[in-house]
C-alpha cells in the first residue's frame, strides 16, 4: 500500500492552534505543499502578520519574521531587497492587508515588489472577536454591526484583489476559495503560480483566499463553508483577475 496523501514536509509537527473547522489550516497546508513541490522550503522566508494568521511561524518549516500589524509587506520588501535570492511571502488576514496595511499592500503592488502575498479573507476580524472589517458583506451581522452592515453608514465591502489587479506592478492576482475539494485544487494552483512568478522575478503576486470563521460567524464548520459559497463567492470576483503575458508563458 502506498501513501497517497501525507502531511507535507513544509509543515512542522505542531498542531494548528485554530478553532475547529477554520480553513486557515487548509490554506497553510496548500502553501506548505507548494513550497515542498517547488523545493524551496530552505530558501523561503515567510512574514507573519498580526491576527489569527500571526501564529503561522510555528507551523511552517521555513524561516519567519514577525511584522507589526499590517506591515508584513514593508518587512517582506526589506527582506527581499537585502536577500534577493530568497523566496519571500507574506501571509495575512483581510484585517491586516486590507485595512490596517492597505497602504503597504497598494504601494508594494504599485512598485512591483518581487514578493508573494497570500490574503486570507473571512470578512471579519477573527482574533479580536469578529468585528466588522472592510471586507464584511452588506447586511452581515458582526459584533460591531449587530443589525448587519449598513452601507449608508459603513460603506460597501472592498474587493481588495480587484483593486490590486488595477496596478501595473501586480503581475498575478487571483481570488480563490477553499470551500470544496475542487476549489482547494484551484487554490493550490493559484498559490503555486504566485510563487513561480516570484521565482521568475516578474513582479508582485497576490492570491486572495476566501476563508471561514465558524466561531465568530456562529455557524458549524460545515454550515460555514455553505455560507461562504452562497454569500461570499457571489460578492467577490473569483478566479484569476490578472495574468500578464509573461506569467502566462511560465
Amino acid at each position: 500500500m502506498e501513501k497517497v496523501f501525507a502531511r507535507t514536509k513544509g509543515l512542522t509537527d505542531v498542531s494548528f492552534s485554530f478553532c475547529p473547522g477554520c480553513t486557515h489550516g487548509t490554506i497553510m497546508r496548500l502553501i506548505a505543499e507548494v513550497l515542498e513541490e517547488l523545493d524551496i522550503i530552505e530558501e523561503t522566508i515567510g512574514i507573519s502578520p498580526v491576527g489569527c494568521a500571526g501564529f503561522c511561524q510555528d507551523f511552517f518549516s521555513c524561516d519567519f519574521v514577525g511584522a507589526p500589524h499590517g506591515r508584513a509587506q514593508a518587512v517582506g520588501i526589506g527582506v527581499k531587497r537585502a536577500l534577493p535570492d530568497k523566496n519571500v511571502f507574506t501571509y495575512q488576514g483581510d484585517g491586516d492587508i486590507a485595512a490596517i496595511g492597505t497602504q503597504h499592500a497598494i504601494h508594494a503592488a504599485a512598485r512591483g515588489e518581487k514578493i508573494t502575498s497570500i490574503m486570507v479573507n473571512n470578512a471579519i476580524y477573527g482574533m479580536t472577536g469578529g468585528q466588522m472589517a472592510p471586507t464584511t458583506l452588506e447586511g452581515m451581522k458582526t459584533s460591531t454591526s449587530p443589525y448587519g452592515r449598513n452601507v449608508s453608514v459603513d460603506g460597501l465591502p472592498m474587493d481588495f484583489p480587484k483593486l490590486i489587479a488595477n496596478l501595473e506592478g501586480a503581475v498575478y492576482v487571483a481570488s480563490v476559495s477553499v470551500d470544496s475539494p475542487k476549489n482547494i485544487a484551484q487554490a493550490k494552483k493559484a498559490i503555486k503560480k504566485a510563487f513561480q512568478v516570484q521565482q521568475a522575478g516578474l513582479g508582485f503576486a497576490l492570491v486572495s483566499v476566501l476563508s471561514t470563521c465558524p466561531t465568530n460567524w456562529g455557524l458549524s464548520p460545515v454550515d460555514s463553508l455553505k455560507w461562504l459559497r452562497e454569500n461570499m463567492m457571489p460578492v467577490y470576483e473569483m478566479g484569476e483577475l490578472k495574468v500578464t503575458e509573461e506569467v502566462k508563458s511560465l
Partner: protein
C-alpha cells in the same frame, strides 16, 4: 485496497471529512484526544476507496490516505 488513517493528535472533530466522504464511512468516535476533542474514526476501512477527499478538506491535516 485503500486505507484512511486519522492522526488523532491533530483531529479537532470539525466534521468536514464526514460531510465530504463519498462512502460515508467516517464518523465522530467516542474517544477523546489530548486536546479533549472526540476524534473522527473510520467505521469500515474495507469500503475506503482512497479518494483522499477527506484529507483534502481536513483543515488540521489530520488525515493520511493509503492506496
Amino acid at each position: 485496497m485503500a486505507k484512511v488513517d486519522i492522526l488523532e493528535k491533530y483531529c479537532k472533530s470539525c466534521g468536514l471529512c464526514i460531510e465530504v466522504c463519498p462512502k460515508k464511512i467516517l464518523e465522530i468516535g467516542d474517544k477523546t484526544n489530548a486536546k479533549g476533542y472526540f476524534t473522527v474514526i473510520c467505521k469500515d476501512q474495507d469500503k475506503c476507496i482512497g479518494c483522499a477527499l477527506c484529507a483534502t478538506v481536513c483543515p488540521d491535516v489530520a488525515i493520511e490516505v493509503y492506496k
